[in-house]
Amino acid sequence: MTLSVKHRVQLFASWSDTLGPTVEVELPEGARVAELLATLEAQAKSKSIKPLPRPSVAVNHRYAKPDTVLAVGDEIAIIPPVAGG
């Protein structure tokens, strides 16, 4: 039996418009960034007819790779294409 972990995820810009500023995502313990993103992309698809731009994922204020393992207490954020400057 696999334990599951609830991750609180912050969202921004078009992703926040569609799913709200924060969501909770339940994933198996040891899940990776790629799984989190796949889960949220499925949710977004069911809520928005317009495709959302592919985001990056940040863990603890740094861009994370798809194979980064998510740990309890990580600060996780969905980063749509940025537009500062």
Partner: protein
């Protein structure tokens, strides 16, 4: 070296004064402003919002990278959040350096990395009342009509 997200109008002159040093022979200032048109659409203003703690961390990393690459410790980066009108400054980058080439190299490095990496978003307001999230790669996503405006200082 200093970085900041601010919610008031930028004062580029103050930044230039902040980096001034009698050991530096060259100072540069870059100012990004809200442009009248973007990709052919008439713009009336822009909302800038940020994932503030990460934006500050990324700005600090970029400043440290520039210091390491170009040897410039006299470097200030400020970005404004909130609603900006036409012509208002969204970003100001001031650098001073003993050598002009390094000052200009650092200026360009900082603005290019900033545009690519710092988690800040802009929603443009158009003359026709429409709004859209616009990204630095040229993408545009129409904003949801009922979308709440994010807290511009991050959350």
């Amino acid at each position: 070296m200093r970085i900041a997200l601010v919610d008031h109008p930028l004062d580029p002159t103050a930044l230039l004064a902040e980096v001034a040093d009698v050991g530096s022979g060259a100072s540069t200032l870059f100012v990004g402003t809200v442009r009248r048109t973007n990709q052919g659409r008439a713009v009336t203003g822009i909302d800038y919002s940020a994932y503030a703690p990460m934006a500050e961390a990324e700005m600090q990393r970029i400043a440290e990278e520039a210091a390491a690459k170009f040897g410039c410790t006299h470097l200030v980066i400020e970005h404004r959040l909130g609603t900006l009108l036409l012509g208002e400054a969204s970003i100001a980058i001031a650098v001073s350096h003993e050598r002009r080439g390094a000052a200009m190299d650092a200026q360009r490095y900082v603005i290019e990395e900033f545009k690519a990496r710092v988690p800040i978003w802009k929603r443009e307001h158009y003359v026709d009342g429409d709004r859209a999230w616009v990204d630095n790669a040229g993408g545009a996503v129409p904003a949801e009509p009922d979308a709440s405006v994010g807290d511009s200082t991050g959350r």
